[in-house]
């Protein structure tokens, strides 16, 4: 998204549409009651979640308001008491080290050294799950958990929204841990 937004400016390309993130609509649709989500599934399980603020979405695009939308959605689907924020966060968050072409660049050792800061930040929350609403973040944070034996899971936001709507299918649970693998089936 950042590549399009900044490319439009840089190359002075005219366009006649708005550019939005689906995170903004997730929040809007939950507020409007169109997405009927409930965190009841996590009442007794009490699985703890943290969330990664993607640089390209937050700091580089829509700023803190979209970080608030993201938190609103996350709390609505996992339960407010089961959400633990990283420090620092929102526009001040650390990059995970998956962006900028890092994952493709071949500098794997440097990429993991870079990501150690993010890894420590996630571990400090003691959350069992890190929600990553960006693909580069997902791939990097997943790899950091494997490489440094973090033991946390890395999940997409859409997985949890569907879990909280009771419609998550059997084949859509690749990134959930064993304790959540059968919830709502």
């Amino acid at each position: 998204m950042f590549a399009v937004r900044s490319g439009l400016q840089k190359f002075k390309i005219p366009y006649h549409f708005e550019i939005k993130s689906i995170i903004q609509y997730y929040a809007q649709w939950i507020r409007e009651g169109k997405l009927k989500v409930s965190a009841d599934w996590n009442k007794d399980i009490k699985a703890k979640f943290t969330v990664q603020d993607p640089c390209q979405l937050v700091r580089k695009s829509f700023g803190d308001p979209v970080a608030e939308d993201l938190r609103f959605v996350v709390k609505a689907v996992v339960g407010e008491e089961n959400f633990v924020d990283m420090t620092p966060n929102r526009s001040n968050n650390y990059c995970c080290g998956g962006g900028g072409g890092y994952l493709q660049s071949g500098f794997a050792e440097a990429r993991r050294a870079y990501g150690k800061l993010k890894f420590d930040q996630i571990k400090a929350t003691r959350a069992a799950y890190c929600i990553t609403p960006c693909h580069n973040c997902h791939a990097q944070i997943h790899d950091l958990s494997d490489h440094f034996a973090g033991g946390y899971h890395t999940v997409h936001l859409w997985t949890l929204i569907c879990l909280a709507m009771g419609v998550l299918g059997e084949n859509e649970r690749t990134y959930l841990g064993p304790e959540l693998a059968a919830v709502g089936l």
């Binding site: 590549a3 490319g7 549409f17 939005k20 689906i22 900028g100 660049s105 500098f107 709507m165 299918g169």
Partner: protein, 243 residues
């Protein structure tokens, strides 16, 4: 640490930093550094290759171009912009890094990023994993059929491609259709539940853009123009990013 003083050449015409200043708004404030180190202290790339954002800028200011342009560090900075976010003078160090990447001959830039950019240029889909329009349509329609047949409550779910006048033009990272198509389904269910008027495009749907990371301006521009055309040809009002 060196104990020898560094002696700078007296005449330093056309140093790299000055050339970058000419093309950045406000010159990227590249002459405004207070040397406070707020950038370096919060940069995850500090220390890699013995470099950090402050040092990179100081070397640039001193005209020590060889040390910054030849350093792999330009590829170890993710251009996440945290340094200029915290900078009291709003110095655009990420753009300095971007322009340093541009000075590398294209065939010397990291092969993986180059390959992803080149792949995206092959089809109007802009897919860095090389998915063609036919591949894309097949995977989406196949997956949608499977959902309609196997998931109760979603017998009527629609997954449109090239629906003219839809409100949302949804993009999708290539990773899903190419390696894990089941991961597209939760997204479709959410859009279905919200009653959203949306469509994918057969062209320009891929969310990724490695040509920017490669610092290949013409290729980056081509990708953006292809995506813009795809949205405008369908007359969609909102270009909706899945992330």
């Amino acid at each position: 640490m060196t104990t020898e003083p560094i002696v700078l050449a007296k005449k330093r015409p056309g140093i790299f930093k000055d050339k970058v200043m000419e093309v950045l708004p406000e010159g990227g404030n590249l002459n405004s550094c207070l040397t406070c180190g707020a950038c370096a202290s919060g940069c995850p790339a500090s220390g890699l290759e013995g470099m950090d954002p402050r040092k990179f800028l100081r070397l640039a200011s001193l005209g020590m171009d060889e040390q910054i342009l030849g350093s792999n560090w330009v590829w170890l900075c993710s251009m996440c912009q945290r340094c200029n976010w915290v900078c009291p003078m709003k110095i655009d160090i990420p753009q300095l890094v971007y322009h340093a990447r541009r000075t590398w001959p294209r065939d010397k830039r990291p092969k993986g990023i180059r390959g992803s950019c080149d792949m995206a240029l092959k089809h109007d889909t802009c897919s860095a994993m090389g998915a063609s329009e036919e591949d894309w349509r097949f995977v989406v329609e196949d997956m949608a059929d499977e959902v309609r047949q196997s998931q109760p409550g979603f017998e009527e779910i629609q997954v449109p491609i090239d629906k003219k006048g839809a409100m949302f033009f949804l993009n999708q990272n290539s990773r899903e259709p190419v390696t894990e198509p089941d991961e597209m389904v939760p997204l479709w269910k959410i859009l279905h539940a919200a009653g959203a008027d949306w469509t994918y495009g057969s062209k320009g749907w891929a969310a990724e853009n490695y040509c920017m990371f490669l610092a290949d301006d013409p290729a980056w521009e081509q990708i953006v123009r292809t995506k813009v055309k795809a949205v405008e040809d369908l007359g969609c009002k909102v270009w909706l990013n899945t992330e």
